[in-house]
């Protein structure tokens, strides 16, 4: 469904600075209904890759293919459709929401922009359904981002993304600012939607435990290349953290 072919990206410090290769020929593919985990240390280029896929950055080389068509060549209706089908969820939910916008308008606007709601009534119905799906209550609609908790904000961001019925959701550290109990709630929303619609998920994280338990396939991004790819349990056996006690049975 999504195929990356030797994607490269250079960044230059200043106009005459030396180019630094952040991504160096990344090959990766994600199929329908798949849950793919991309692991890498800080600065390994994970976020750059996600931004290239959704078209926020241009690759310096290589191709991004969606359903066999090159994403960089899309325009007009096809591009709009691509942007609806592939949703990116960032790490910091408060910064993904407009501080001046109420939750209601943050949720209604994309529906209107993509022509998914013929009337305001229909849009609100859709928004209410999304709130239920994401475990939010209606009193949140009138609030602004600073008036809600981080966990609520990330659920609003998810509701906004899922309302567009995407086929691929890319989560760039979507839960690393959240507490463990909230993290599990947020991931449950994604799993449930995947079970219902066959949505594909691409989780970008540096939490090996998370990828091991949540993803079906994983890759390690190291120095701008996919250094290894395979089943999470095989890629990350036992503990590399030296926390042997961690392997004890759960209560």
């Amino acid at each position: 469904m999504l195929v990356l072919e030797s994607v490269t990206r250079d960044f230059r410090a200043g106009r005459w600075g030396k180019a630094r290769r952040v991504l160096d020929g990344v090959n990766l593919s994600i199929g329908p209904g798949e849950v793919y985990g991309l692991v890498g240390a800080s600065g390994s280029g994970k976020t750059t890759l996600a931004r290239i896929v959704v078209g926020l950055l241009r690759p310096s080389g290589g191709r991004v293919l969606w359903e066999g068509r090159e994403v960089m060549g899309l325009s007009g209706r096809a591009l709009r459709n691509y942007r609806r089908q592939v949703q990116l969820v960032f790490q910091n939910p408060q910064m993904s929401l407009d501080p001046r916008q109420t939750v209601e308008s943050a949720l209604v606007e994309p529906l209107a922009a993509h022509g998914l709601a013929p009337s305001r009534r229909a849009a609100l119905d859709r928004v209410h359904a999304m709130l239920d799906e994401c475990g939010l209550t209606r009193d949140i609609l009138g609030r602004r981002p600073h008036q809600i908790s981080g966990g609520q904000a990330q659920r609003v961001v998810l509701a906004r993304a899922l309302a567009l019925e995407p086929r691929l959701v890319i989560g760039d550290e979507p839960t690393s600012m959240l507490d463990v109990s909230v993290q599990a709630q947020v991931l449950e929303i994604l799993s449930r939607r995947r079970a219902q619609t066959g949505l594909s998920l691409w989780l970008i994280s540096h939490d090996v435990d998370l990828v091991r338990s949540f993803c079906g396939r994983a890759g390690i991004l190291e120095c701008g290349r996919i250094a290894a790819e395979g089943e999470p349990a095989a890629l990350f056996p036992a503990q590399e953290d030296g926390a042997d006690m961690w392997r004890e049975e759960a209560p």
Binding site: S42, D179, A184, D209, S213, M245, W246, E248, A250, P251
Partner: protein, 314 residues
């Protein structure tokens, strides 16, 4: 029982917000000993950072603090005059702040900021024993301390910034250290380095590691868990995470990706509207009428272990 090097007794912190009184920290009592590091676990908003700020006298006037904190030869740190507190803070009593890069001044080089810490907080040391900024940076394991000292905070990575604020904490002669979420936002390798750093440099000190990261708590001699402003469980490090008692602690462990990623239903109560009985009852699978009506006390069930739950041990 051993004497405590930091004895927290019935510490309460309340904030006024309009007509409401927010009980953010409620009757917290903890004894900490030097060398027996304690992890204070809790989720966002449970009051764990406010607890540390209260002990260090860093809360705004709007906060009402009561209780007693016995440490460093003082009967109650909370009633010290601000002059006396200033003499302890940053020297014997150190807070390694949350959000390290935000805690550094963006317009001064790292070395200059450390020099200031040394000048202010190393005053108890003789001139000869006062460290150089680069010396402190070397002690926290930075490879090229001289060049790091010349950097501005925005040029540091998260892991480097964490080491720099830790280095600042080493400027005096710390005896009691509060490390507030030191591993937040760090990747696995940087997190390991950071925790090792705390262990090696503060080995003989009283250390309270405030964290929501369950993994960071593993391997520390003692663990305390906070929920909605109160301590719900205190246990030995070896009990954690395998044989914890409180339903909330168990829920936290089960929510961790390594243990099944099972969410805890609902959300923590607002400090303005705390439930009458057990504060975890609305989210707890074991809760019954007793839990909803009466507030359970923190009951010791073994040496250095206690739990706040009517059903624990049953």
């Amino acid at each position: 029982m051993e004497t405590a090097d930091l004895g927290i007794r019935r510490l309460r912190v309340a904030f006024r917000a309009g007509r409401d009184t927010l009980r953010v920290v409620d009757e917290v009592s903890l004894d900490l000993q030097a060398g027996r590091h304690l992890a204070l676990l809790g989720e966002t908003g449970c009051g764990k950072s406010v607890l540390a700020s209260a002990i260090l006298g860093l809360l705004p006037e709007s906060a009402t603090v009561s209780g007693a904190v016995r440490a460093l030869g003082h009967d109650n740190l909370l009633s010290l005059a601000s002059r006396d507190m200033n003499r302890l803070r940053g020297r014997a009593l150190v807070l390694i702040p949350q959000n390290p890069s935000g805690s550094l001044n963006p317009v001064f080089r790292v070395g200059r900021q450390l020099a200031e810490s040394i000048r202010l907080n190393g005053a108890d040391l003789s001139w000869k024993r006062r460290p150089e900024p680069s010396e402190l940076l070397a002690r926290v394991g930075l490879d090229a301390p001289g060049s790091v000292a010349r950097l501005f905070p925005h040029q540091l990575s998260g892991g480097m910034a964490q080491r720099v604020v830790t280095a600042a904490g080493l400027a005096g002669m710390p005896r009691i250290i509060f490390a507030d979420e030191p591993t937040k936002g760090l990747d696995a390798e940087a997190r390991r380095v950071c925790l090792d750093l705390l262990r090696t440099h503060f080995g003989r000190c009283v250390l309270m590691l405030i964290t929501h990261d369950l993994k960071a708590a593993v391997g520390l001699p003692r663990v305390a868990v906070m929920y909605a402003g109160e301590i719900v469980e205190v246990c030995e490090g070896r009990d954690f995470p395998g044989s914890v008692q409180h339903p909330y602690t168990r829920g936290l462990v089960r929510a961790h990706p390594a243990f099944g990623l099972t969410p805890i239903r609902g959300a923590a109560p607002s400090p303005a509207a705390l439930p009458r009985g057990c504060r975890f009852a609305p989210r707890c699978g074991q809760a019954d009428d007793h839990c909803r009506a009466d507030h359970p006390p923190l009951v010791p069930y073994a040496p250095d272990r206690s739990v706040r739950c009517f059903h624990a041990g049953a």
